[in-house]
């Protein structure tokens, strides 16, 4: 009797509070005098798709780009507060950013393939992490191109330049080379916004397939897309978090009227 009740407690806790892989507390970003992110407290649940939505200029990109510290090189940037990845503070100046980025991968808005072959692009990141045998190389290329449903389209021309692919294929190749590094989290900054609708859908399907193995943080200003793919939603407006929670709750029963306005009418007066 005692045992079952304690099990119950653990179970219900897991239901309401899924394990957080990324967490920010009191996180602020300034770029020179502009306050880009204001007191951000969010948790990113593990093995879920978290969508960050909000109007242009709300700080979505800055937030997602803080998780792998790719913002470091921006002149005049200042981070204050805590950003934790598996309970380690990644803002610590001693953090090995190269190692961090191999754990937290990123896909950008515009596909950017390196001027190399398709296969070489898949291997680009992983080959500098460790030595690969010829067989491993072939395996990694096949496994990751299959993961993004690109294998059938390109398996007969792996040595062709990556630039010969269509933009949508290039974006999926960018996802494949991110997967090859075996990250735990993949950050995606509007990865479909520079693609045509059909390619965009193909990338979306790829993303849905990935959520079993990876935690995804997805920035979009397309609310329908967020509704289609998100498990967890973060609504950001004017540098502040307005609301966050499970996607159904925010769409059906938001606590904040501004969330309702934005998700229904794409309108935000903050």
């Amino acid at each position: 009797m005692k045992n079952t009740s304690s099990l119950k407690i653990i179970h219900s806790k897991a239901d309401t509070e899924p394990e957080a892989i990324l967490k920010t507390s009191g996180f602020n970003v300034w770029i020179n005098d502009a306050h880009i992110l204001n007191d951000i407290n969010i948790t990113i649940p593990k093995n879920k798709i978290t969508c960050i939505v909000g109007p242009s200029g709300s700080g979505k990109s800055t937030l997602v780009r803080s998780f792998n510290r790719i913002n470091d090189d921006i002149a005049g940037i200042k981070n204050i507060g805590k950003v934790q990845f598996n309970n380690n503070d990644i803002l610590n100046p001693e953090t090995d950013t190269a190692l961090l980025r191999s754990k937290i991968g990123m896909v950008f808005q515009k596909p950017c393939v390196f001027p190399k072959s398709i296969a070489a692009n898949v291997l680009f990141g992983i080959q500098y992490q460790r030595k690969l045998s010829e067989i491993e190389r072939l395996e990694i290329v096949e496994e990751n191109l299959k993961a993004v449903s690109l294998w059938k389209e390109v398996s007969h021309r792996l040595n062709n330049p990556a630039s010969s692919l269509s933009l949508g294929q290039q974006q999926r190749l960018c996802i494949a080379r991110t997967l090859a590094v075996k990250p735990e989290v993949i950050l995606m900054d509007e990865p479909t916004s520079s693609l045509d609708p059909v390619s965009g859908r193909a990338v979306e399907e790829t993303i849905l397939k990935l959520k079993e193995k990876y935690t995804l943080v997805f920035v979009t200003h397309n609310i329908q897309q967020a509704e289609r793919i998100a498990d967890h939603l973060v609504f950001l407006c004017d540098a502040k978090i307005i609301e966050q929670g499970p996607v159904n709750k925010l769409f059906q029963n938001p606590e904040n009227s501004r969330t309702k306005d934005y998700l229904n009418n794409e309108f935000c007066d903050c």
Binding site: I70, A75, R101, M106, C112, F114, P115, F124, C174, V181
Partner: protein, 282 residues
């Protein structure tokens, strides 16, 4: 004045500019070719000069010129690449960036004879190097620095930010990003700069005439503390004995060979530049 008339005038003016430019160049090349070709023979380029250059060939002037600029390039290239990488990838303070621009453009603007005097005072008088082709290489290397630095910087800087971010996001560190992503995409810019620098350096007379060259009686140097003879300084020496028709013909011949070498470097630069452009459009 109607717009059409303005349009025609503008077109005529730009045509005139092109014609003036090209005809000067063609005239110059024509004169050097016409006067230089009669002096050309295998004997001329493959034998040593005698009688202060009025007789014999220019073998050791050619070798001296090539030696002095090749070593200058070896000294200058790594420094210039390093400076360009630092300026493009590590320097993100605007004030210091402006300051580095002033330094580089300033270095490029120094008259060549000032370099010669500087070399004479520092290396020959203060450090007691004596007349040495290696000192000449150092000075020419310094003169080539701004050209190579700027072309390399420009081609590094023209690689879109997204390539840097994509590479960093895959877990490469900054150094790997520079060597594996940025330099392969901008190396032809660096080589272009190198050849432009070489083309300029091989024709320089003033910076090396006091410190690195002798006007006669030199062959291949056996150490770094020896002078060489070079084509430009040889032409200068021959021009001073222009009353001797044989010396004058050799001067034209030397000019012709020098022009050929300069053209070789410039067209290499042009060719590599074209390759880089087509590479970027891929």
């Amino acid at each position: 004045m109607t717009r059409n008339v303005k349009n025609s005038i503008f077109k005529a003016v730009s045509w005139f500019a092109v014609l003036a430019c090209f005809s000067t160049l063609i005239f110059l090349f024509g004169v050097i070719f016409l006067n230089g070709i009669p002096a050309m023979s295998l004997d001329f380029v493959a034998s040593r000069s005698s009688n202060f250059g009025a007789e014999g060939g220019i073998l050791y002037q050619i070798s001296g010129s090539i030696l002095i600029v090749a070593v200058a390039a070896l000294l200058s290239f790594p420094l210039a690449i390093g400076t360009a990488i630092f300026k493009s990838e590590y320097l993100n303070n605007k004030k210091w960036d402006k300051f580095s621009d002033i330094l580089i453009f300033g270095l490029n603007g120094i008259p060549s004879v000032v370099f010669g005097i500087f070399g004479l005072i520092l290396f020959v008088n203060i450090l007691g190097f004596g007349i040495s082709w290696f000192v000449g290489s150092i000075i020419l290397g310094v003169m080539m620095l701004p050209t190579i630095t700027l072309t390399t910087f420009q081609s590094l800087n023209s690689v879109p930010i997204i390539y840097r971010e994509s590479s960093l996001a895959l877990g490469l560190n900054k150094w790997q990003t520079i060597t594996k992503v940025l330099l392969p995409q901008s190396y032809s810019g660096a080589i272009t700069g190198l050849f432009i620098g070489l083309a300029r350096a091989i024709g320089e007379t003033a910076p090396i005439m006091f410190i690195a060259t002798a006007f006669s009686g030199v062959d291949l140097p056996s150490g770094i503390k020896e002078p060489v003879s070079t084509l430009p300084t040889h032409i200068l020496a021959l021009a001073q004995q222009a009353t001797n028709p044989q010396a004058l013909e050799n001067a034209w011949g030397s000019s012709f060979v020098l022009i050929l070498l300069v053209m070789l470097f410039s067209t290499s630069a042009l060719f590599i530049r074209k390759r880089q452009l087509s590479h970027l459009q891929l």
